[in-house]
């Protein structure tokens, strides 16, 4: 039996969304299985399935037109809203923790002040905040999944706090110059605010990102 997903992806082109590919592939699969159940051989069943579409380019254009108006709305629901929810939720939790004076843990990697440089390589970890990130990561991925988000949408939505901080840090680095201390500060800041929070978010989001089907939105 042909790989219907692959066939549809090839014929419709790479811009076709995963949910459409899955849906059309399952339709062709049922046409094929119905033909087989009626006693047709493999080749004849494949031929019957292929008769479902006479011109793939026309179909691709029709689907694009039918779905086109929805694109921004879908993008907002599958990526921007879950990403915003994850970002606001995690930032709000951090702000609340700081407001209630929950202290971060300080890690000193190297104390340059002993050598007269007056600077130490250190970073803070807010363990209590990191512990909440898997929940926000999972919720971002879940909201994206529910809105038919692709695995990339789910991944990006769950990592939105880290991606946002990384963007801000890159802008600051680009504006602020490029001496060694700034590069070291950027590297430590990346570990502190991007890599470790990103890993924490991914821990929660991972099972939802790697769901086998690109869209599996359940009834609300």
């Amino acid at each position: 039996m042909p790989d219907w997903n692959e066939l549809i992806r090839e014929r419709l082109g790479c811009e076709a969304e995963g949910a459409v590919i899955s849906e059309l592939a399952s339709h062709l699969e049922e046409v094929y299985e119905q033909a087989r159940a009626q006693g047709l051989n493999q080749a004849a069943s494949e031929e019957r399935a292929s008769q479902e579409v006479s011109d793939w380019r026309v179909l691709a254009a029709q689907i694009r037109r039918a779905k086109g108006g929805n694109f921004m709305k879908r993008r907002i629901r599958s990526f921007w809203l879950p990403a915003l929810f994850t970002l606001v939720g995690s930032a709000g939790t951090l702000a609340a923790g700081l407001f209630f004076r929950l202290r971060p843990h300080l890690y000193v990697l190297r104390d340059y002040s002993l050598h007269g440089a007056g600077w130490q390589a250190e970073f803070f970890l807010h363990w209590w905040w990191l512990a909440t990130l898997p929940i926000f990561g999972a919720m971002g991925a879940y909201l994206s999944l529910r809105a038919d988000g692709t695995p990339w949408d789910r991944l990006a939505a769950s990592l939105s706090p880290s991606l946002f901080v990384l963007t801000v840090m890159c802008v600051i680095l680009a504006i602020g110059g490029s001496d060694l201390l700034q590069h070291l500060g950027f590297a430590l800041g990346t570990v502190e605010w991007v890599v470790i929070p990103g890993i924490a978010s991914l821990l929660g989001a991972m099972p939802l990102i790697f769901q086998s089907r690109p869209s599996k939105a359940r009834a609300a």
């Binding site: 849906e23 062709l28 579409v53 026309v58 029709q62 689907i63």
Partner: protein
């Protein structure tokens, strides 16, 4: 009859057929095509190419809502549910088609043909 009018009639009848079926129970694409074929004794046929653009268009208008659900065999299918807007649309659509067939009947006597 021009091609444009024929296409409009086919589209309108397809919309009515789909809304009427989905009003009874949520169905997925293949099942919609199969039921239309069976219940019209093959007079109306939907292929993948004619069905899904129409379903997506109706979904965009807010008449249908597609949701992924697993059936008893554990296979994921996108079931189309009739929305409130779709239910409201069904009434005037039925009236339009009834009026259309009555007009055609009075003109050409199609019901006695």
């Amino acid at each position: 009859m021009t091609k444009r009018i024929r296409s409009k009639i086919a589209r309108g009848s397809g919309e009515l057929a789909i809304l009427s079926l989905v009003a009874e129970q949520p169905l997925y694409g293949f099942e919609i095509a199969k039921q239309i074929d069976e219940r019209t004794n093959g007079a109306l046929k939907f292929t993948l190419a004619s069905l899904y653009p129409l379903l997506y268009e109706m979904e965009k208008r807010g008449w249908l809502e597609g949701r992924w659900q697993s059936n008893e065999a554990g296979r994921d299918r996108r079931y189309y549910h009739l929305t409130t807007a779709g239910r409201k649309q069904l009434v005037p659509l039925r009236q339009e088609w009834r009026a259309f067939f009555q007009a055609l009947d009075s003109l050409a006597g199609v019901s006695n043909a």
